[in-house]
Symmetry: C2
Subunit: 208 residues, 2 copies
């Protein structure tokens, strides 16, 4: 574990607050306030506009307190974000895998159209400039969702709804990739109609 990010924000908190040692313990209220302030400010001014000093001011803590707990801005924002959003997508299980996928795609588009989409785009973009950030984002957002989707695809193959020779990884990318691409490039809107058309297009011809 060489990442400068904690896997979960609690770890970082517990690590310091486990109270095995003497001395004043870290204030849990400050912890919460900092993360909340970070969330608010990312929503208000975006990642680029967010400053540690701003977070400190809004959270009512000293800048020092933040640097005592997080090594830098990226790590703070990441923790703030995932404390809120981490629970993965959640596919339905109607018995019809194609229908499950269709619903999930609509749900994802809807989610990415809101503030979550803004944050995801920001984190993904920031990953280009920060390797640890990229890795943490992959582990905590992308891979969790890909794994879930892959399982659904495998279920589809097992049930005979999807051809056996389809590579689940490629299919999952074919479904999700265009959505994230639109999210990032903004060349066309993320509409439910797009989700449907994309799902139909990708799934057509994959019958067993």
């Amino acid at each position: 574990m060489s990442s400068k990010f904690s896997e979960k924000s609690e770890e970082l908190y517990d690590e310091a607050c486990d109270a095995k040692h003497a001395g004043r313990p870290r204030c849990p209220v400050a912890h919460r306030n900092i993360l909340q302030a970070a969330r608010d400010l990312v929503a208000e001014v975006g990642f680029a506009g967010l400053t540690i000093e701003g977070v400190a001011a809004r959270a009512g803590v000293g800048k020092t307190t933040i640097y005592r707990r997080w090594p830098n801005k990226s790590s703070l924002v990441l923790d703030a974000f995932f404390e809120d959003i981490s629970p993965p997508a959640g596919f339905a299980d109607t018995g019809n895998v194609r229908e499950d996928i269709r619903r999930q795609m609509r749900k994802l588009v809807k989610e990415l159209n809101g503030p979550t989409g803004c944050k995801i785009a920001t984190l993904l973009a920031n990953g280009q400039f920060d390797k640890d950030m990229a890795e943490a984002f992959r582990a905590r957002w992308i891979e969790q969702r890909r794994a879930e989707a892959r399982d659904v695809v495998k279920r589809g193959i097992a049930q005979g709804e999807i051809r056996r020779d389809v590579d689940p990884d490629v299919l999952v990318d074919a479904l999700y990739g265009p959505i994230y691409f639109r999210l990032l490039s903004g060349h066309a809107p993320l509409t439910p109609a797009f989700a449907d058309a994309l799902t139909d297009l990708v799934l057509s011809g994959l019958d067993d």
Copy 2:
């Protein structure tokens, strides 16, 4: 034309060098040196690590000269990049649209695997923090390529290789989206095998 970016870098150059006015003209050598230095430095230290002062030093010009010609870092890097890379993809025309697409997909993957891919990822990411940058990137990279691909798809529809009810925009996104997504997220490598598998998967079931 409200963008702070010139559509083509020559415009910006000519605009000032058209020499209709009195006074010393802008030095074209400096222009070239600046763009070259910017290209070199982006490759060496990345967009985030690039500084205007660094470009000026390497180009052997004053910082002022750069600010006289470009309003900011983004705009300079964008011009530097597109002076080098702008010519769009170039589809083959074998008569078989599916084959044309397949070849194009392999070519794109190969290109994005190299330094161009690094630059594209950087520009796309930076677009999240800079609206003008995002728009310029869409106009000068994405839309040019999308338009070309859309035409090929339409040709495929006209020739009866692709179903008439397929939306060319959606199909183009289905092909390209996953590639750019992998480029940005890095969750899986951009291999020729992926290009082939993706193309097959997306095009299967779209027969007329």
